[in-house]
């Protein structure tokens, strides 16, 4: 009996082993050719132009659609980041800018095909760009920043040539065409699904794709996961080859600790947006590749409403800037993972260059802060609230506690307010918050763009509600300044004004921590702060 069961057991074992050996290579193959990317948020639309679309949706559209042009990449401190100054062709084989800067002519690739096999023509490009500036979608406001506002500006010259005319030579026109929104759509397919109410097929494109991108959507479950499969005919990758991975799985895993576990166990290949503490411990273990890039197009700051007393007094704002415990905040909120924008030394008291954001000569100095308070006529201090949103609690909460403690030492009594995200954005929009922390990002991080959008006007993004006509005038003028030296000078002036007026205190640029299996290569920090799946490959 025992003998029989032994024989049975051994034969079962042998069979299992055989099966495993037979199954292993094929399974390993599919796994190696699949990228499993886990993320906290989720893809909520296949058309990034839909209001409310997430960053994950942006990244997805970069791979499912092509644009006329794309950003190049460069090395920054040994890490790959997108390069705003190198614009390469994507669907365009080449492009020319006329000497006066008013005409850009794109010649399309002859071999580019949509995923249904039809060729990409200038008509499709025109329809897509028309849609972007005409339909009530997000692209409209974005392209406006590059002087692209009307369908009349796009002209089909022949089936493979399209011409874009500009009212003024705008240096952001071309980069704008490389951003997420102006994707090129298969106009024949889209038109079939357009209705009288919805001539630009926004409803249909939200759930379907009609692009020429490197990947086609295999399955889409909003809020859960998207599975992409490679388009074998796509050849816009490096060395004119298709993208590396055969399949991409983009999966939502809301719990950051679970995301860390998944990548550590080797079940996920690539993860972004982990908690700083998890990244630190994963890095210390040394089994995974951790690429930390300061988000060089983003800034976290403490903002003060320049219209609400006492923050309408420049000395109060300077007092706050002198009383923030920068080093402690940086350690508590980010574990030091980022690029600080404080603690600079300006030899001649002037900004070193015209690039925004820039490092300021700020450090904790309570005596100086008290002097500023006295100059403001508030030697006893005052009471205020400091707000942050729940979504940023993991970094903002320890920061808020330190702000409260430090300001308490100079008599400023701070009440910490933790607001739900929707409530926070409403109050910011209505300019009701006196003192809070927020973060900004610009896809096209040029100095004038930052100042125009975040330091002028009455729109929501002017967090500090600063209203300085000189600053606004310089920023507006710089936009169309073709001369590089003059542009740099304008930037320098703006930066000096920023430090003098101190509308808000820039703190740091947080790191984008990408944690991945050691075999993953080619990760690049992109302007949309997500992974471009076309960048990565497996060794």
């Amino acid at each position: 009996m025992r003998f029989v069961s032994f024989r049975l057991a051994s034969s079962v074992l042998a069979t299992t082993a055989l099966l495993l050996i037979a199954a292993a290579p094929s399974q390993a193959q599919t796994r190696a050719e699949t990228l499993r990317y886990v993320t906290g948020a989720s893809v909520n639309t296949l058309d990034p132009n839909i209001p409310g679309s997430t960053r994950e949706s942006f990244a997805l559209s970069m791979s499912t659609y092509d644009r006329l042009v794309a950003f190049g990449r460069k090395q920054l401190n040994g890490k790959w980041v997108f390069d705003l100054d190198t614009i390469t062709g994507e669907l365009a084989e080449s492009y020319d800018v006329s000497p006066d800067g008013l005409k850009i002519t794109f010649r399309l690739r002859k071999d580019a095909k949509f995923q249904d096999g039809s060729p990409v023509t200038a008509e499709d490009v025109k329809w897509s760009l028309d849609r972007c500036v005409t339909a009530p979608i997000l692209g409209k406001a974005q392209l406006l920043t590059g002087s692209l506002t009307s369908a009349d500006q796009f002209k089909v010259i022949d089936p493979l040539t399209i011409e874009v005319t500009l009212p003024k030579p705008d240096k952001l026109a071309l980069p704008n065409l490389a951003t997420v929104y102006p994707m090129i759509i298969n106009s024949k397919v889209a038109k079939e699904h357009a209705t009288a109410d919805d001539p630009w097929a926004t409803a249909w494109l939200k759930e379907h794709t009609a692009g020429s991108g490197a990947y086609a959507v295999e399955s889409f479950k909003p809020g859960e996961q998207v599975i992409l499969k490679r388009d074998e005919s796509w050849n816009r990758g490096s060395a004119n080859k298709p993208a590396f991975f055969k399949r991409i799985i983009v999966q939502s895993v809301p719990e950051p600790a679970t995301r860390a576990n998944l990548v550590e166990r080797g079940d996920a290949d690539l993860v972004l947006d982990l908690q700083a503490s998890d990244v630190q411990s994963l890095e210390a273990k040394g089994k995974l590749k951790v690429i930390s890039t300061p988000q060089y197009n983003a800034v976290t700051f403490v903002s003060m409403n320049n219209q609400i007393p006492p923050f309408d007094n420049v000395n109060v704002r300077r007092a706050i800037a002198s009383a923030l415990p920068y080093d402690d905040m940086f350690k508590a909120a980010l574990f030091g993972r980022g690029a600080p924008l404080f603690g600079a030394t300006w030899a001649d008291g002037k900004p070193a260059n015209g690039i925004y954001p820039f490092q300021q000569p700020l450090k904790l100095d309570l005596d100086k802060a008290r002097e500023y308070l006295k100059a403001a006529g508030l030697p006893e201090g005052f009471s205020t609230t400091f707000s942050f949103n729940v979504g940023q609690a993991s970094t903002a909460e320890p920061m808020a506690a330190l702000v409260k403690e430090s300001l308490g030492k100079i008599g400023i009594k701070v009440d910490i307010q933790k607001l739900p995200d929707a409530q926070m954005s409403t109050q910011i929009n209505e300019k009701k918050l006196p003192f809070f922390t927020e973060g900004i990002v610009a896809w096209l991080p040029s100095t004038d763009y930052f100042y125009r959008n975040f330091y002028t006007g009455s729109q929501r993004w002017n967090y500090s509600s600063i209203n300085n006509p000189d600053l606004a005038a310089i920023a507006q003028e710089a936009r169309f300044e073709p001369d590089k030296a003059k542009y740099e000078e304008a930037g320098r002036k703006l930066n000096a004004m920023h430090f003098d007026l101190m509308p808000q205190v820039m703190l740091w640029q947080p790191n984008q921590d990408a944690v991945m299996a050691p075999s993953i290569e080619g990760y690049t920090y992109e302007f949309h702060r997500q992974v471009d799946y076309r960048d990565v490959s497996r060794k």
């Binding site: 909520n44 809020g223 998944l262």
Partner: protein
């Protein structure tokens, strides 16, 4: 028997009708509650780097927020009447579709957890009741206390840490099924049943493995009330006249405990199980978050945080309807467990 069943059905129908005003009340109340909450969803959703006033207005119009509140309510009620729960800004899908896709996931998890809890709790309660005051009784009490005082997300994370991270026994705690497994044709929406119907044993096992950890962490939390109520009502039942009579006529121990005592003691357990089920369904949001379970509770929480009105309203309506349904099922179970209940 037929007349008994008929009476039960009539009773069930009447109960269902009488709950309609309550459902309507819930509908209006949630609607108003969402409107008085601070935070403008349009501003939140227009959060792109270039979303200005125009975009905010557009979203407001899309969500119907440009109308007055009474007008919105009328539109909302008429939409509900047409079976339209609105559209979620978060997922971009109709709320009804979202809920239909996600409800089976929550139900499957909750049913499994309840089943595990009952399988563990009823015997525990019975054992404790048979030897009140003994070491076993105290042991059961300790176990229940531990289960109920550890929050579900803590037990969930602990289970993940031990069984997935350290031991590697459990599959990765993301969703209902391994991403590399192909799904069976959808029939019931319950993966464990659909895989069986499709004859895919491997898939069934994969789905079950995925289900175990979240279900256990939820079950741990509700074993306590179930076991305590079983113990209490078993004690009453064991001390009653009919059990003494049954014992005295020399019936076997098994027959006395299981057939007479337990059958009479089970009524309160059914009531509690019904209540526990309804609360679990809504309260398992943390478990759903920890295990990336694509259920309705985590969906509703995300919606609430971003002031996405339609999904929250849809979720509350769904929960209210389920509560009515669960009460009904409890009533019917009563009728089966104790036929006297059916006679009014």
């Amino acid at each position: 028997m037929t007349s008994g069943l008929g009476a039960t059905m009539v009773r069930a129908g009447r109960r269902l009708l009488s709950s309609l005003p309550a459902l309507f009340g819930v509908l209006v109340f949630t609607f108003l509650l969402m409107r008085v909450l601070p935070g403008d969803p349009a501003v939140f959703f227009a959060s792109g780097p270039n979303a200005g006033k125009e975009e905010i207005e557009q979203i407001r119009k899309q969500m119907g927020l440009d109308k007055s509140v009474p007008e919105q309510l009328v539109f909302y009620l008429s939409d509900i009447g047409h079976g339209n729960l609105g559209r979620s800004m978060m997922t971009g899908q109709p709320v009804l579709k979202d809920l239909r896709e996600r409800l089976p996931a929550s139900l499957e998890l909750t049913f499994t957890a309840l089943l595990i809890a009952l399988i563990a709790a009823v015997p525990l309660g019975v054992i404790a009741a048979l030897r009140p005051g003994s070491i076993i009784d105290h042991g059961v009490r300790l176990f229940c206390a531990l289960g109920v005082c550890v929050p579900t997300f803590v037990s969930g994370l602990l289970l993940i840490y031990v069984f997935y991270y350290l031991l590697g026994l459990a599959p990765d705690p993301t969703g209902r099924i391994d991403v590399f497994t192909s799904l069976p044709p959808q029939r019931t929406g319950f993966l464990s049943i659909d895989f069986l119907l499709a004859g895919d044993v491997e898939g069934w096992w994969a789905a079950c493995r995925q289900l175990i950890l979240p279900a256990v962490s939820m079950a741990l939390f509700v074993i306590a009330p179930l076991a305590r109520i079983t113990r209490a009502s078993m004690l009453v039942s064991l001390g009653s006249d009919f059990v003494r009579t049954a014992r005295s006529v020399g019936l076997s121990w098994r027959k006395v405990v299981v057939t007479y005592a337990l059958r009479n003691a089970i009524l309160p357990v059914i009531t509690i199980a019904g209540i526990v089920f309804s609360t679990m369904l809504g309260a398992n949001v943390l478990v759903e978050k920890v295990f990336s379970w694509p259920g309705v509770a985590s969906y509703a929480l995300d919606a609430l945080l971003s002031s996405d009105y339609a999904p929250v309203q849809g979720f509350v309506l769904l929960m209210a309807s389920l509560f009515v349904l669960v009460n009904l099922v409890v009533d019917i179970c009563y009728g089966i467990a104790d036929p006297r209940v059916s006679i009014e």
